[in-house]
Amino acid sequence: MNSPGLFFVHYLMIINERPTAYPIFANIKTVAMEDLKLEELFQAKVDAELKIEPKDWMPEKYRKTLIRQISQHAHSEVVGMLPEGNWITRAPSLRRKAILLAKVQDEAGHGLYLYSACETLGATREKTVEDLNSGKAKYSSIFNYPTLTWADIGAVGWLVDGAAIMNQVMLCRTSYGPYARAMVRICKEESFHQRQGYEIMSVLAKGTPEQKEMAQDSLNRWWWPSLMMFGPSDANSTNSADSMKWKIKRQSNDELRQTFIDRTVQQAEILGLTIPDAKLKWNEDTKHYEWGDIDWAEFNNVVAGNGPCNKERLVARNKAHDEGAWVREAAMAYAGKQAKRKAA
């Protein structure tokens, strides 16, 4: 059932088994055949590496999958500002403060690029934001962990942004045009994020024993949640087959995770820090690292809403949204008044 052609034949067989005496079935048959033809054309475009644009016909499930994925991605950028914002006023120098401010502002921008890509699929901004605030929509579970020390700002940039980049570089080639364009923009900005984090880690790792200890402690706490960012292992990943067929994604969760680990281990060595995984070892045959077991129970628990900061994050988002309501209203009232004055 991989090629659209096979799918088409298979589907026709199913339809033909049904009684055709009822006019309603005949009707379903034409509609279904029409859709199949469109779906074949759609898949042919995807296979030919032509981007799908907002006004093109697309399978309903493609649209829904994209709305879910892009909005979750946008929410992650927005909620991601909270753990980092936590340290803006306590950054150790003016240089670090300016950098952190710029980074957090970038994350707001990333959220906005993605929200607008999501809107091209027919999802309204209000509904999308409402789904985040009500807790209906998900965001990356990594942001439900607290940033306890300054070193965490280093680890977040190095590991969390590092892991995000793996995924985002792949998404620059995603089949939906507006999403791909947003990702290109984001990727250009993201490498500064990872580098500033790695720089923080390297300064701490080369500092006093206490500072190095702080860096190590931070790596210990962020390593496993960062690996979980790639999502469930391929064997347990439910949405993958369609996403691959539609070229929304092009690499599996495990492939991306492997590349991330292969790159990051060397970076940790340079810092003189230890990856908190006793089973981590180089495999000379595969030329990849092997790693220990991810605690998926912890992952599922955080996704289910029971991580250390889930409640705090949602409270903060709702507070910002509610307290900003009068600003949104006042701006519209002012714009309305100005427009009237202009017309008069």
Binding site: K55, D106, G109, E189, R328, E329, A331, M332
Partner: protein, 98 residues
């Protein structure tokens, strides 16, 4: 929460000219209460790294677009008119600057 529809900021499409002499290019969209705010927001969202020196904002509702289904009707007529391209013409051997 008094978030009625009238209080939702409308959508604007943003076009940025990256350098003097180049076209304004579509970069994305954003929400703003009016044109002035749309320009200011576009500055923050789309030009944080000197990506532009001029911004156009257009209410998304004011844009009319062709439909993908009309593509053949609109663009196919140009397919068989290769004589509109300079490479269609055979120049005599040795002619210069043409």
């Amino acid at each position: 929460m008094s978030n009625t529809n009238e209080n939702n900021w409308p959508l604007w499409e943003v076009f940025i000219q990256s350098k003097r002499g180049l076209d304004h290019k579509h970069v994305g969209s954003l929400h703003a209460a009016d044109a002035q705010m749309a320009i200011e927001n576009a500055r923050d969202v789309y030009t944080r790294r000197q990506e532009g020196q001029s911004i156009w904002v257009v209410p998304a509702a004011a844009i009319s677009a062709s439909q993908p289904d009309d593509a053949a009707m609109l663009f196919d007529p140009a397919d068989d008119k290769t004589y509109r391209h300079p490479t269609f013409y055979i120049m005599p051997e040795g002619a210069k600057y043409i």
